[in-house]
Symmetry: C2
Subunit: 156 residues, 2 copies
Amino acid sequence: MPQNEAPGRDPALELWVVLARAFDAVSRHARAQVTHHGLADAEFGILEVLYHKGPLAVCEAQRRILLQSGSTAYVVDKLEQKKLVKRTPNPKDKRGTLLVLTSKGRGLMTRIFPEHAETIRRAMSGLSPAELKRAAELVRKLGLTAAATALDGIPG
Amino acid sequence: MPQNEAPGRDPALELWVVLARAFDAVSRHARAQVTHHGLADAEFGILEVLYHKGPLAVCEAQRRILLQSGSTAYVVDKLEQKKLVKRTPNPKDKRGTLLVLTSKGRGLMTRIFPEHAETIRRAMSGLSPAELKRAAELVRKLGLTAAATALDGIPG
DNA sequence: TTGAGATTTCTCGAATTCGAGCTAGTTTCG
DNA sequence: CGAAACTAGCTCGAATTCGAGAAATCTCAA
């Protein structure tokens, strides 16, 4: 049967395929580690950004974890129930809410973040430091330009 | 306040962050295009693999779309309801089911796959052909080694 | 041949995510 | 000032995904 242009022929489609696979493979490592501590991926994402950046508006945290606002509200609810973060009014913007790590949340991150970093390092140990660096450059450029390209224009 | 080792310092963590962002950015393009035709991402994934490889066992299709078996059954149900694929018994393995594109399904893919390819190409147009090739090499290597690394070993 | 272990596929409930739409607060600028 | 446009964050229903587990079949070494 005549195979219509195989995706492997097109460099962009090929990269798309390997990108999805790599993301999935590394995700599994990250998820396994994080689940191990009773956290969902997105929960860990929020905690991590607060841990590294300090208190943030919900919308700022949201941008970093790549979820829609409805999902973010759901995740923040969970974290509040677990007493890992607290919502506080944002004095700079009365629309907004500031997310703050509780001491319980900070303690948890202090315990598990190093382990998380080690998990990612191990998952990526197939690339040499130079390869990691080069890959990050290229993939960053890809992400930035893809994000900057208009979503709409369906050709045809 | 003292910022604990910023993720930007660690090449592996850095790549992890940009990888997730790039995947997300390109996904949005793919999703927008595919949604435009009334298909979910995973539905398109199944159709595409059948379109390019011919009839496949459910488990083979599943491996390529990176979903768990429960989710795959759900997606295949949807596609059957839409009369885009058909489940047929697998003569080689009585446990299994073979997925076959209907003519409606093949017609749909013939119409929209070229557009999909163009969408991906456009989303990735920020990289030169040489960069695409190099990125694919590195990211493929990353994905393969990450997939081959044991999931369990939580250090500590 | 046989039986332990692996594979394939599905079901089902729970968890997560999306997406649209709403309210309230903010910004822009004539 | 004041209207229009935008932003922040939420709710809610629908869609999707996961994860565990069951049933059928297959594999392969003893």
